[in-house]
Every structure is written in structure tokens, then in C-alpha cells.
């Protein structure tokens, strides 16, 4: 098991290295640089050159890359050009915010989607099935920020039930923090329900057709037991893959939702720093996102045996 883990992790190194190179190159391909953004429309070339030298941006690119990688290996992600904060702690801070929203939303969505998909599959082609699929499809067809804005308008401004701006970390005040992230979580949950329900339903349909289900029914096993014991765990596996993919991607960027609800999350940090050309932060964020994606997929793969004993990890 440990050996498998080690091997899998080792396999990710080339991918991550490629990501690092791609990120570094991409960021520098973008026209405009942080110095120009900082100096604005009164950029004095002398000042600009000075600033560039200070930030190490006047060195040849391969050299800059080497410096960056060397520091990365030591665990130093560098410092933000915009405000001089250390990048890694900044990323982790922001990641906490995004992670809470994503994890809670996906978990909530899964809790609703999997049973819904299962029931829809069980009663396939009935009116119930149609409405579940229709509803799920509609949910994933709505632009996320539009949904978020509508909810914000309704609950924040018109009904005034929930606050409209800002964020308070849980460590400060639990209940207040909860009110700030309730709407974004609801928005994300609704969309993910759409995505996950369809997959859960498809997977359930597959399983329901299988021989041993018919067999169990023929034996006289009560229907709820059939569903709960045989169908559910097996239908969960492909849904679990999808959850992994979804988690991996969402953890990297719910930038749009964070913008709508003004949350200091990772997605917003990335978008803001791209617009500010804050190279160290952009590079750090993208690399971090890639690592998260890889780790999440690894965890997803490792969990398979829990659902299907026939599957072995190695």
C-alpha cells in the first residue's frame, strides 16, 4: 500500500514539473508586467527600470525560473509583488475559505444527488424520473454567477435575511461566519446537484440491470435492502470519480462565485493577481491548484476499495 502510494506520488512529479514550466512561461507571455501596473500612467522609465531590477525581473528568464524552482524546493513560494506578503501562507489562507465552501457544497450536493439519482433510476421513465432529470439538467444549465446574483438579490437585499458583503473566518465568530458563506454554498450546491444527480442516476441504472440485483429480488429480498445494500454502494463508484474531478477543479477556482459574494478565496486571488500581473502569486496559485487536483484524484483512487471490494488498489 505504501509502495503504491510512493509510486503514484513519484509519477506525479513529471506532471507537476511540466505544470511549473507551463505556468512560468504562460505568465510571462501575457503582455504587461507588474511594474507597469504599479506605476500606472505616469511610468517613468528610470523608475520602472529600478523597480524591475529590484524585483529581479530584469534577469534572463531561464535564470528567473531556476531561482523560482530552487526556492520552491526549499518550500519558499516567494513574495507577492503587490503587497510583499509571503505567497504560500497567503495561498493557504485563501484556500481555507474556498475549501470550506467547496467541500460543504459538494458533500451536501452528493447527499441529495445520490439518493435522488438512485430513486430516479429505480423509477426509470416515470414522471418522477423525468422531473428529477429535468430539474437536474436545468440546475446545471444556469450560469453560476447569475444564480448567485439572483439569490443575493433575493435573500440579501430584498428579504435582508443574510449579509451581502464581507467575510468573517470561523475562528472568529462561528455563527456570523456561517451567514456569510451560506449563500455561496447554496449556489454551488444547487449547481453541483445538477451535475451529480445525472451521473448517480446513470450509474444506478447500470447496476439495477445487473444479474445479482435480479437475483436478489428473485430471492425475495425487500426492495429497500436491495437498493441500499447492493445498488447504492456500486452506483456510488462512478459518482465518486466524478466527485473527485469536480472537487479537484472547484478547489482550484470558484473565482466567479467568490467575486459575486466578495469572499477572499483562492479563485479570486488568482484572478486578481493575473490582472495585477503579480507573477509569484499567479505561479504559486496555479502550482498549488495542480497539486490539489493531483492529491484529490489520488485520494479518490485510494478510496475505491471501500466501495467495491473486488477492486484492488495495486
Amino acid at each position: 500500500m505504501l509502495g503504491y502510494l510512493a509510486r503514484r506520488l513519484a509519477m506525479t512529479i513529471p506532471t507537476l514539473l511540466l505544470v511549473a514550466i507551463a505556468v512560468f512561461a504562460l505568465v510571462r507571455l501575457i503582455p504587461g508586467d507588474p511594474v507597469q501596473v504599479m506605476l500606472g500612467d505616469s511610468a517613468d522609465p528610470v523608475q520602472a527600470a529600478q523597480l524591475r531590477a529590484q524585483l529581479g525581473l530584469d534577469q534572463p528568464i531561464p535564470l528567473q525560473f531556476m531561482h523560482w524552482i530552487a526556492k520552491l524546493a526549499a518550500g519558499d513560494f516567494g513574495h507577492s509583488i503587490t503587497n510583499n506578503l509571503a505567497v504560500l501562507p497567503l495561498i493557504l489562507d485563501r484556500f481555507q475559505v474556498s475549501a470550506v465552501i467547496v467541500l460543504v457544497a459538494v458533500a451536501a450536493a452528493a447527499c441529495i444527488a445520490v439518493p435522488a439519482g438512485l430513486i430516479a433510476a429505480w423509477k426509470q421513465n416515470s414522471l418522477l424520473d423525468l422531473s428529477v432529470v429535468g430539474g437536474a439538467t436545468l440546475l446545471l444549465s444556469i450560469p453560476s454567477f447569475w444564480l448567485g446574483l439572483l439569490l443575493l438579490l433575493l435573500f440579501g437585499l430584498k428579504l435582508k435575511w443574510l449579509p451581502v458583503i464581507g467575510y468573517v473566518p470561523f475562528s472568529e465568530n462561528f455563527w456570523q461566519a456561517a451567514t456569510f458563506i451560506l449563500l455561496p454554498i447554496v449556489t454551488l450546491t444547487m449547481i453541483e446537484i445538477g451535475v451529480l444527480t445525472r451521473m448517480a442516476r446513470a450509474a444506478s441504472i447500470e447496476v439495477l440491470r445487473l444479474e445479482y440485483v435480479t437475483h436478489a429480488r428473485a430471492k425475495g429480498v425487500p426492495e429497500w435492502l436491495v437498493l441500499g445494500r447492493h445498488v447504492l454502494p456500486n452506483a456510488f463508484a462512478p459518482t465518486w470519480t466524478l466527485i473527485g474531478l469536480v472537487l479537484g477543479h472547484l478547489l482550484g477556482g470558484i473565482a466567479v462565485i467568490e467575486t459575486v459574494f466578495t469572499l477572499p478565496g483562492l479563485g479570486r486571488l488568482l484572478v486578481d493577481s493575473i490582472f495585477a500581473r503579480d507573477y509569484p502569486v499567479v505561479q504559486g496559485c496555479l502550482l498549488f491548484t495542480a497539486v490539489i487536483y493531483v492529491v484529490v484524484n489520488l485520494i479518490v483512487d485510494l478510496c475505491y476499495p471501500l466501495f467495491d471490494p473486488r477492486v484492488t488498489v495495486a
Binding site: T15, L16, P143, V256, T259
Partner: protein, 270 residues
Amino acid sequence: MRLRANTAIGGALVTLLLGTAITAMFWTPFDPLRINLRARLQPPSSLYWLGTDEFGRDVLSRVMVGAGASVVISLLTVLLAVAAGMAIGCAAGYIRGWTDRIIMAVNDALLAFPGILLALAVMIVVGANKVGLILALGLAYIPSVVRVVRGTVLSIREKEYIEASRVIGNSEAYSMIRHVMPNAIAPVAVLTTSMFGWVLLAESALSFLGLGVPPPAPTWGNMLAASRPFMETAAWLSIAPGLCIALTLLGVNLLGDSLRDRLDPRMAHG
């Protein structure tokens, strides 16, 4: 029954979309680009069925033209992603060896980026216009297509008819095109419908973040993004494009479902 419902509703919505897009090429109630500063922010009325925007342009006309823009952008993006993805995926799956390993390593690296962010970065580099958008979104989706195609290729390349084809003396390329491609089409087709949806949503998200198709050309995405400051005072500005996106996606997804059901009939019956 479900198959028919899917096809019916999905087909109706998609036909409506295509019909609007084609009609818009020849006729719209008003010139979608004509600015009329005296008629700004009018609510829906008998003259302007969907109201006017902050420059006095008729929203209905813009929505119609936007339909065309969305269709064109989505189609071209999908075409780019599928064409490139098929080529790369077949190459990887068929040639194998180091080519395959390198391609998949790059592919996985690309997949690790959230699509929107990759698209954003590419757009900033290439420029915010229709071409840049298509390139950016296509690039973001190619890795998924590559994965699916390669998977299909791997599973059928050892099948008998490929062997038979080789024995008769057909070249590798011929075998690949003749036998592999058609089999890859089915899963790719299903991927395509979800891609349409993603492209439409991504286009509006990119417009929201500040980089979309530039004015004055309307797309649903940039109309929705531009409506944000007016959400309370001129709600019709966001409802029209928002609903259009939602309904189009609904139609495309339902059609995609019926397509998948047709390709895999086992799914259709309980």
C-alpha cells in the same frame, strides 16, 4: 417515453435556438448595434419587446444576434477541440511508447488547470476577440477529448478487424481512420454536448471576469455580464440573456441525453 420527452423538449429548444440564429442573419426588429441615447434603459414594451439597454439598443435584437454568435462560437470551439483532440488522442493511443507518455504527461498537466483560468490566461495572451475566445476555450477542452479518444483507441486497437485490416495490407493510418475513428465518435459525441454547455457558460464567466467578445457585438455572455450593475433597476437586462443561456443549455443537454440513449439503447429501458 423518456426518450421521446427528451428528444421533444430538447429538440424544440435547440430548433428555437437555431431558428433564432438563422433569422437574425436576415432580420431583427431593430439594428442591434444602433445606439439611441434617448431611449436608454426602457422596460419591455410593445415597441421594444425585451426593453433597451444602457445605450438604447434593443435587447430582443441583441439577444437574437447573440444566439447566432453563441452558436458560431460554440460550434467552432467544439470543432477545434474535437479535431485536435481526435488527432492527438489517436496518435497517442495508436503509436504508444514514448510519444504516448509525453502526450499524456502534457495532457494531464493541462487537465490539472481549472478550465476557466487556462482560458483566461490564453485570452490575455492572444487577445480578447472571437478568435482568441475560440482558441482559449478549445484549448481548455482538448485534454478531455484526448483522454476519451485515447481510451477508445486503446480498447479497440487490438480487436480482430484491426488485425485483419493489417493482414490485408492496409497502412496503419488507413486502419486508424477507417476503424478507430468511427468507434471513437460515440463517446466523443456525448462529450461534445457537455462541451457546448461548458463553452456557453465559460463565455459568460469570462465576460463576467472582464474578458469576452468585445463590443459592440452582442453575445449572451457579454450581455449578462454587462447587466450586472443594473440588476435591481433594469432586471430585464439580465433575465433575457440569462434565460436564453439556461434554456439553450437545457435543450442541448436533453438532446445530448437522447443521443446517448440512442447510442446505448440499454440505458433507455428500465
